[in-house]
């Protein structure tokens, strides 16, 4: 099997090979580590690579499986987590200089559950500082898009999107408040799920937007995504806001056609001013594919969805900022310039405005939820534009126009579903002529992860997008060119 062939197999296929003992967990982890060593100095998906521990766990998995103790489809597979999730004895930096040497004494619940499923932690993934989008300068290295290293891998679970796209791991766990899983999934050409709030435990995640933060998987295929969610979903006594609802068998939703399904495109989140023509064309094409699979696809107006971005910033950002005010007082200069200005702004939101914004969030959410009375899933593109150049994508604010374009409009496709706290899946939906990934977003009613997987899987299997992967050897060559100063 060729180098990239193994790396780009789906996690499900890697798991099947391990189960049938045609592939050793040690071989797979060594293969992942070799790719990380070769390409990650350019892509910067990881802040910490747990090479020795991962190899030890792989040997243990190999022994277990050899003795007939196979734990399930993730046994022996390498995964990474956004470096916002606590790992016992392993640095958890939040992408910040301030926490550069922070070593927790416990694992996040999702990590414990993946380890119990036999998966192997291979590293901690790079992110926008404190998980807030808008970092200007990355203290732990600039993450780069594997499809074009001059471009952003999006925010804020940047490394969690790069890693599965580059074949560094079988999957990642990212964190999504307003789009931080779905944005990197779109930019890097992988599948990303923001689960329903309460479906996955937040215990051990260092994130403080307590009414919107969710943890979810980023993977190369929809089936892989369902496998990872299956392992991490469910009630956790250490997170009082997790649901006690039974976790369904997500795999059972896959492989079905879409006959009788009622889908609807959200006009304001799909066709606003400023949508890139290739994004528009990909969306139109995706709608036709979904119709050909038996679904009806209509269009709906949700005019209040646009309010989700400022409302998220007036509330969830304020929740986060409240936890960092002491550090902002004492270590201002050690924060990234983008992070500190965003947090200071949120810290200054008057309490009365915060309370009114929470009321408005409920109103906006109710409008979105009402749409599920008539439709099984809502659709829109995941991003209005393909991944931008790193320098141009920085959220530098010099004017009210910058605030509108760089901060507000950019988030129109993802924030409303975050504010509504509904499960939302981003799936690859084509490429630009320049070879940059495009993405379709599918949202369901609360706890309807199986529905969004069903739609996403049917679409994925009817299209070739998930079979394309970045050519990292060319990436390395391009990086050498940059190092030599031939281009910038």
């Amino acid at each position: 099997m060729e180098d990239s062939e193994l790396a780009y197999l789906s996690a499900a296929e890697q798991g099947r090979l391990i189960r049938s003992r045609k592939l050793s967990p040690v071989e797979l982890v060594q293969h992942s580590l070799a790719r990380i060593e070769r390409y990650d100095p350019v892509l910067r998906a990881y802040i910490t690579v747990c090479a020795e521990a991962a190899l030890a766990a792989a040997r243990e998995a190999e022994t277990e499986i050899g003795r007939g103790r196979y734990r399930g489809p993730l046994h022996g597979l390498p995964f990474g987590v956004k470096d916002q999730l606590c790992t016992r004895g392993i640095k958890t930096t939040l992408g910040s200089r301030i926490f550069a040497d922070h070593i927790p004494d416990h694992d996040a619940t999702v990590i414990t559950r993946l380890r119990n499923a036999g998966a192997i932690l291979i590293g901690k993934e790079n992110l926008h500082e404190f998980g807030k989008g808008g970092t200007h300068v990355f203290y732990h290295g600039q993450p780069r898009n594997p499809w074009d290293i001059a471009r952003t891998p999006s925010s804020s679970s940047s490394g969690s999107g790069i890693a599965p796209a580059a074949g560094f791991s079988s999957g990642s766990i990212g964190e999504d408040t307003g789009g931080s899983i779905r944005g990197p999934a779109a930019a890097n050409g992988v599948v990303g799920l923001r689960p329903t709030f309460g479906r996955v435990s937040r215990h051990g995640g260092l994130m403080y937007a307590w009414t919107a933060d969710t943890l979810g998987p980023l993977t190369r295929t929809v089936e892989d995504n369902a496998l990872f969610l299956q392992a991490i979903a469910g009630y956790d006594e250490r997170d009082p806001l997790t649901s006690r609802r039974e976790v369904p068998a997500y795999g059972a939703a896959l492989g079905k056609d879409l006959k009788g399904m009622r889908l609807v495109v959200v006009r304001e989140m799909t066709w606003p001013d400023g949508v890139h023509p290739e994004v528009r064309a990909a969306m139109e094409s995706a709608i036709e594919v979904l119709r050909s699979l038996g679904a009806t696809v209509g269009e709906i107006s949700l005019p209040w969805a646009k309010h989700a971005i400022p409302l998220g910033m007036l509330t969830s950002d304020a929740d986060v900022a409240s936890m960092y005010v002491p550090l902002l007082r004492s270590r201002w200069a050690e924060f990234d310039a983008g992070t500190r200005s965003r947090m200071a702004t949120a810290a200054m939101v008057p309490a009365a405005v915060y309370s009114r914004a929470m009321r408005a969030r409920a109103v906006v959410r109710n409008q979105i939820l009402a749409a599920f009375d008539r439709y099984d899933a809502l659709l829109c593109s995941t991003s209005l534009k393909p991944a931008g150049l790193i320098d141009e994508a920085r959220e530098v604010v010099r004017s009210a126009a910058d605030m509108a374009q760089r901060i507000i409009l950019r988030r129109i496709s993802t924030h409303p579903f975050g504010v509504a706290n509904v499960p939302t899946l981003a799936v690859p939906a084509g490429f630009t002529q320049a070879g940059l990934p495009l993405s379709l977003q599918i949202a369901g009613k609360p706890f309807a992860e199986a529905t969004v997987y069903r739609v996403g899987h049917a679409y994925e299997q009817a299209t070739p997008w998930h079979t394309r992967h970045p050519a990292l050897a060319e990436t390395t060559r391009a990086a050498r060119v940059i190092e030599n100063g031939v281009t910038s």
Partner: protein
């Protein structure tokens, strides 16, 4: 809404933040933009907001199947 750097400085002082001049304009611009957006939301949704409690949209407030 206009928010001057001086007003932003004074608001920051209320919570013990001493924001350097170089960052103050950005913070003022960001906050003014968000408060302006909130004014527009109040105009459009205010009466509905008055009748809607600010319950966080988290479990167990999720609707049943």
């Amino acid at each position: 809404m206009n928010l001057t750097a001086q007003q932003a400085r004074e608001m920051a002082h209320l919570i013990g933040l001493d924001i350097p001049e170089a960052d103050l304009k950005v913070v003022a611009l960001r906050l003014a933009s968000l408060l302006t957006a909130m004014e527009a939301i109040e105009r459009e949704l205010g009466p509905l907001m008055d009748k809607t409690e600010p319950i966080p949209p988290v479990f167990p407030q999720e609707p049943a199947d």
